[in-house]
């Protein structure tokens, strides 16, 4: 008996990405640079988040041609983004053969109440979360991988740090609760009870958890790894810097050797300018992508 698209297989690919860096790319040339630098996967996009932010308007799934051309030139997994709740964009991405779908707040939400029922698909999904309740709701809908939301396209790691610390703090709190308090905890964080029980018993999420949203330097990547993430997404941070190939390679090395400050010092040298950053407090509330998601 052969089973495709099972939970083990969906979650399994995320396990294989651990300790690695997933890089946003918009062209086949960038995808080659990312692969050459040691990316464990690429995210195929029409624009990186900082350009989406600058352009304004409605951001949608990328043109299938872009995704296909990127799939043709690299052997590593290719991910692509669908709008929150836009299950037809997800169906299209599955038909194209994308290896993972990011139901992403970087794009303009297509549904202001509901996310995609990800259990309907054979392709696995990754979703953003800024706290434990949000992570467990997404896993309940079928997400096989979680990432922090951070604040995409800002080159400012503070929000990703906050989201990771929040999730880890909530996990530690659940571990310390007596069993009779867990149902109320599930109610208060608006999370499925069975998943709250899992977290309380195991002290971790039932799926892989990556950092995303604002990572711009090797030190940022290592910071997130030391805070307990399993791997790192870098969006605008690589191709908006002035030496993408060197920066990409350095972030890959920093993600592997996150606990070795000597190596971190070595790989952080001479990388040129990082992407320009944005102070979070300068963003108007409607510009905060992390608030998208229900």
């Amino acid at each position: 008996m052969v089973e495709k698209g099972s939970w083990t297989v969906k979650k399994g690919l995320a396990e294989m990405l651990k300790g690695g860096v997933i890089m946003d790319v918009t062209t086949p040339e960038q995808a080659k640079i990312a692969e050459e630098a040691g990316a464990c996967a690429v995210m195929a996009l029409e624009r990186v988040p900082s350009d989406i932010r600058a352009a304004g308007g409605v951001a949608r799934m990328a043109d299938p041609t872009i995704i296909q051309r990127i799939m043709e030139v690299v052997t590593i997994p290719v991910m692509a983004k669908a709008r929150i709740g836009h299950f037809v964009e997800a169906q299209i991405l599955e038909a194209l053969g994308a290896d993972y779908i990011d139901e992403s707040e970087v794009l303009t939400p297509a549904d202001d109440l509901y996310h995609i029922n990800k259990n309907d698909f054979k392709v696995p999904f990754v979703c953003g979360a800024k706290n434990l309740g949000e992570a467990l709701r997404r896993i309940g809908e079928g997400a096989a991988m979680i990432r922090t939301k951070g604040e995409p396209g800002t080159g400012n790691v503070v929000e990703a740090v906050r989201h990771m610390r929040t999730v880890m703090g909530e996990i530690r709190r659940l571990q310390n609760l007596p069993k009779e308090e867990l149902m109320t905890a599930a109610k208060n964080m608006a999370a499925p009870y069975d998943l709250v029980l899992y977290v309380a018993e195991n002290g971790k999420l039932p799926v892989v958890n990556f950092a995303a949203g604002g990572i711009a330097t090797p030190a940022d990547a290592a910071l997130m790894m030391q805070l307990g993430v399993d791997g790192v997404f870098v969006g605008s941070g690589i191709f908006k810097s002035n030496n993408p190939a060197a920066r990409a390679k350095a972030i890959v090395a920093a993600t592997t050797h996150y606990n070795d400050p000597k190596i971190l010092a070595e790989v952080s040298r001479d990388l040129g300018e990082a992407m320009p950053g944005i102070e979070i407090s300068s963003l108007a509330p409607e510009q905060r992508m992390q608030e998208r998601g229900w």
Binding site: K4, G12, K18, C40, T75, T256
Partner: protein
């Protein structure tokens, strides 16, 4: 006895858990100095291009080959199998060049074609093995000195050549410890030789 798990990228934690569940100590290997402490090495699943580049950058490539040449057992799963192969079909990607096998990467297609199945592995006994294949490679050809341990759909997915063991699938994602026990036995035999 200590078993090393190459921890550059990929599912090294799962291998660590399996080896520990078998009752042995694990060293995560990221630098050549860590190889000195171990008697056997597991190269996990992950992205073979990423793992190979990091091995080269941090001087592990030659250090692993030197140990392998004097008989240290190595087990590669999925990406680890690719890293062990002498021939990667249609690719100039470097490898450790240790096993006389020709490997086809992503042989079943993209993630959507990843699957699990029950696999007969005679060397492990009658009970089939729950094998998880994720964007898995296949062994297309083996030299006569390579033993075939399992096939799926008449294609080679598990093989051994002397002190090298390689599988296309991921026993570390299951609860079945038999393949890890088999590898640990290889390490014990190598120590007692």
């Amino acid at each position: 006895m200590k078993i090393g798990v190459l921890a550059l990228q990929g599912a090294f934690r799962e291998h660590r858990n399996m080896v520990e569940a078998c009752g042995h100590e694990v060293i995560e290997v990221r630098k050549p100095v860590e190889l000195d402490q171990i008697q056997g090495l597991i190269i996990p699943g992950g992205e073979s291009t990423t793992i190979t580049k990091l091995m080269r950058e941090f001087q592990l490539e030659q250090a692993i080959v030197s140990r392998a040449e004097v008989g240290m057992p190595i087990y590669g799963t999925c990406a680890g199998l690719i890293v062990l192969a002498k021939d990667i079909i249609g690719s100039s990607q470097p490898s450790l060049n240790l096993m006389d096998i020709s490997v086809q990467r992503n042989a079943f297609g993209r993630q959507i074609d990843s699957f699990e199945c029950e696999l007969a592995i005679p060397v492990l006994g009658y009970k089939p093995f729950a094998a998880v294949f994720i964007r898995a490679p296949l062994i297309e050809r083996v030299a006569p000195n390579v033993g075939i341990l399992a096939q799926y759909d008449s294609k080679i997915v598990f093989a051994r050549q002397g002190n090298f063991l390689a599988s296309s699938f991921h026993p570390e994602l299951t609860n079945d410890k038999r393949i890890h026990q088999y590898f640990i036995q290889m390490v014990e035999e190598a120590i007692n030789k």
